[in-house]
């Protein structure tokens, strides 16, 4: 369950930033998760729910997780076309050559969070 460890990274990044801003209640987190990032959105949601119940972070119990999914995309410089790669990631479906370059799908970022100061 490596999404648990990944959510730990996300929570830590938010904790680091929220400390500086004196934000003590985090109510919303927005992520962008690529199809090739090795993270499953469903498992991230489960991990987020587990972290919400822990008392050692600033996530509120009803905090929301918004995941923007990024599909994998590749570009074939021979055909000058974009395509959605399947199992053979860089094989262009038009020319069948392994010429494609992955241009999207590897992203895994924390976009933003929302929170407030209660004190």
């Amino acid at each position: 369950m490596h999404e648990m460890a990944l959510m730990g990274e996300i929570v830590r990044l938010i904790e680091q930033d929220a400390t500086k801003r004196n934000i003590d209640a985090v109510t919303k987190v927005e992520l962008i998760v690529g199809a090739l990032s090795n993270a499953l959105p469903e498992a991230l949601e489960m991990a987020f729910d587990a972290y919400k119940l822990q008392k050692d972070n600033r996530l509120t119990e009803d905090a929301q997780l918004i995941i923007h999914f990024e599909r994998a995309k590749a570009f074939c410089p021979i055909c000058e076309e974009e395509y959605e790669p399947q199992s053979r990631l860089v094989q262009c479906p038009s020319c069948m050559l392994p010429s494609g370059q992955i241009i999207a799908g590897e992203t895994f970022r924390v976009l933003s969070y929302e929170g407030s100061s209660t004190s």
């Binding site: 460890a5 996300i10 990044l13 090739l36 990032s37 990631l89 895994f108 969070y113 929302e114």
Partner: protein, 219 residues
């Protein structure tokens, strides 16, 4: 209040990886992150590699496993320094775990450092440890479907060691198909078929390492 962060989830890992990388550059240590599914033969390949190269090079190994010191003990039996990291359920090594054990090595006295990752074809691939080379081991009993089924591993490794080729006569594994599948995922990656048991193909792997060490020393 909305705060825009726009940071990579693995930012903290990547910082630790940069720290490790600088250290490896300063000490001119070649570092190879070896990854595979459990049972593909990483430790056996390391044993044979250490036996063959320990006359010429000083070798260290970081062993990653969920539990036990078993792999580190196998390496120590050959006279190489080995440090075991137990992840206690964690499915991969991260750069901070590596940074934490590096002080146990005198890196300026080590030419070649292997990091044997936790046996897993998924999670370890995403974590930069600061290594110069990522190498995957795939063994023929695992079947031809593994390269297309685990693209995020094979798109990030530059070399695949196809192990246990002594078993090819008993299995349906197609080596040419594996090369072809690899090209479809990562055209820059090469594949060396070998058997750590019979030593067939091991020379090509050992030469690849020797060249890597020479490049590393000349930088």
């Amino acid at each position: 209040m909305k705060v825009t962060l726009e940071v990579d989830v693995l930012t903290n890992n990547n910082r630790a990886a940069e720290f490790n990388r600088r250290l490896f550059e300063e000490t001119k240590t070649l570092v190879i992150n070896l990854m595979s599914s459990p049972g593909a033969g990483k430790t056996t390949i390391l044993e044979k590699t250490i036996e063959a190269l320990s006359k010429d090079f000083r070798i260290g190994v970081i062993e990653g496993d969920l539990a036990t010191e078993k792999d580190a003990e196998r390496i120590r039996a050959l006279g190489a320094q080995a440090v075991q990291i137990n992840t206690h359920g964690g499915c991969h090594l991260d750069a901070r775990m590596i940074a934490a054990v590096l002080p146990q090595f005198d890196l300026s006295e080590i030419d070649l450092l292997f990091i044997e990752n936790v046996g897993n074809l998924v999670c370890p691939s995403g974590y930069d440890l600061g290594q110069q080379h990522k190498v995957a081991v795939l063994s023929v009993p695992e079947g031809n479907d593994k390269i297309p089924k685990y693209p995020t591993m094979f798109m990030r490794t530059e070399l695949v060691l196809l192990n246990k080729i002594d078993l090819l006569p008993y299995l349906d594994f197609d080596v040419e198909q594996a090369k072809d599948d690899l090209k479809g995922i990562n055209p820059q990656s090469s594949l060396i078929p070998l058997s750590a048991k019979t030593n067939e193909g091991m020379d090509q792997w050992l030469n690849w390492i020797r060249e890597g060490i020479a490049r590393c020393k000349n930088q």
